[in-house]
Amino acid sequence: MPYEIKFKQVLNPTTKMMVVRAPDVAAVCRPGQFVILRVNETGERFPLTIADFDRDKGDITIVYQEVGKSTKLLGSLEIGDEILDFVGPLGKPSPTDKYYGTVVAIGGGCGSAICYPVARAFKESGNYLITINGARSMDLLLFRKQMYEISDEFYETTDDGSCGVHGFVTAVLGDLIQKGRKIDLVFAVGPVPMMKFVSKTTEPSDIKTLVSLNSIMVDGTGMCGACRVTVGGQMKFACVDGPEFDGHQVDFNELMGRLNAYWEEEAVSMGRWMKETGGTA
């Protein structure tokens, strides 16, 4: 079963988007779920959250930041090329088919792309949708138009102030809470520190907060435990029990430690890749 790349777009210097033909996955996937892919025979298995899907065409959209060898390798493929293995949809879908009232959807960096289908689904279920889109700087802000179009209220933040509010997403979120806005649910996806601080921001006012965790995974079906996280003092497997969890219960520090488990090996792989490709890719 080859998984053909039908479309590819460079979103910013480190982030790419691809549309992959995977009709089985597209037929049934729901917002919040992910796929695991392996680019070629020597490749590793790694998870990417589904950024969008088209059931009729049988397509899945993925958006990823080129942070290591595997994402660089994926990024080096062109339209018409094939991904060797592409399995999904994995994980539990986001609880988007419910009406909560006002939902704040927060995407940070590459997380905006992942946030998008979930936010859209919240909107489709009749929720009042506030989105906060954040990045380090303006050129790294993703899915701006898409997010804007589905939102009842739309905010942007950049760390360097090059666009929108100068600061982190928590600045806007904190402001909304401060103003006494009634918020029924916060959904946040992005770098771990961002999710941690979003959870810290909502905790005092006890606003239900869901975060989407990007643990290291191997199989993605509950068979290795690489993805385990502590939630509410209990061991959970992010791939089958998640990837979304109650942000107030997640042990983010432990997660950050586990995410760094292979940094030395990642550096070795990356070095090899740069040498093989002449550092161009």
Binding site: M1, D24, V25, A27, V28, R38, T42, G43, E44, R45, K69, S70, L73, L84, D85, F86, V87, G88, P89, L90, V218, D219, T221, G222, M223, C224, G225, A226, R228, V229, T230, M235, V240, D251, E254, G257, R258, N260, A261, Y262, E264, E265, E266, V268, S269, R272
Partner: protein, 502 residues
Amino acid sequence: MADDKKRRERKPPTKKVPMPEQDPNLRRRNFNEVALGYTAEQAVEEANKCLGCRNPRCVSGCPVEVPIREFINLVREEKFVEAAQKIKETNSLPAICGRVCPQETQCEESCIYGIRNEPIAVGRLERFVADYAREQGESIPKTTKRTGRKVAIIGSGPAGLTCAGDLVKLGHEVQVFEAFHKPGGVLMYGIPEFRLPKDIVEAEVEYLEKMGVQFRYNFVVGKIRTVDQLMEEDGFDAVFIGTGAGAPNFLRIEGMNLVDVFSANEILTRTNLMRGYKFPEYDTPVRVGDKVAVIGGGNVAMDAARTALRLGAAEVSIVYRRSREQMPARAEEIHHAEEEGIQFKLLINPTEVHGDDKNHVIGMSCVRMELGEPDESGRRRPIPIPKSEFVLDVDTVIVAIGNSPNPIVPESIPGLELTKWGTIVVDEETGMSSREGIFAGGDIVTGAATVISAMGAGKKAARGIHKFLTGETVEGESGSEDESKKSESEKRKKSKKSKQDK
């Protein structure tokens, strides 16, 4: 004459013809196969010892009833290919079984020659003929029958592969759905290369493909399609569930989520399925520290320990809360592990894993145990000795205390009867679950057990499925008397084995 007889009686007990092996000092640092297999001469020498008993007991010790006496006779006559074909009449994966079956508790345990001597090396002979035949190139049995019935097999472990092979021979259309990108289940991702080379697993699967079995990889049943959809929308007349017991258990102690604590499954999957031992040629990293503790006493623990050694650990210990006699691992694996320098820390139970400020392991607290009264498994229960706590100096902990059934498939089938352990309840005779047309077998039914019992279950279910689809009983199978005897002995074994590692 009488004198002669006396002398014969005094003959010292014989041993198995030894199988050549890689030197322990070399092999502890490489992933090549440890046991090298018999030569033709050695095989014939061993086979010549077989008494060819008129009422052989060895066969009743085999969950798939390999015609042991007949195949050993063929080895004696140097008809190795024919011998392999003889085995394949009831066992479609002999090259694998010859390597991983616990023969000492099965065929070889009941060997009559073995009462006074070391038993006939049935496993080594099975391995030899299977390897010989594969290297010669085997003919594929032709199936001309076409029943027009379609069966879906979920999971490509030994249970699924056996069921698929038997059903395709009976003329059914068979499609295997596998979650991973490669077939074989534990044979591929769990059991290491140095014990079961992956080429062999692939060759056995290729053989099935040539017989007409179709494989779909990257297909997680319960996520992409449910079993009900397969049956109602995709035209499958019956389904066999062989999804194994792949979900790793962890201890309920502090420190289980530290960075250098791994499940055996993770280390083994990274190493075997993903070829992490060839990093960075292969992209998947796998890393252990200098001082590794492996918790558990089953095959999984032995494999994890020996893998850790080969990945470069300086010291590897097995930490097991019961005694050596109670370890569920195959005798040969324990022996090999010892030869390679794995230390056995027995009657010791971990109570906490300690980490530093970066969540790296810096030690493991343990308590010493002693054996008390027998527990429900019949083994003497280990009980902690008061005030015997101490800290083991380790930087990596691998947990191998057993695996549970993966709930993805069972949970996606409404009305499916499960036990409180999450295993699927099936009819002993047919392998059918509480839902009509849905069959199951292997570790998903018994809990973590053995390759051969999974194969036996796949075989039984294939018969059950055939009967369900056509109303016919599979010919040439043993009568009901044997059957009931066997399932009794199997039951015994299962209850023994399902306590694996604990």
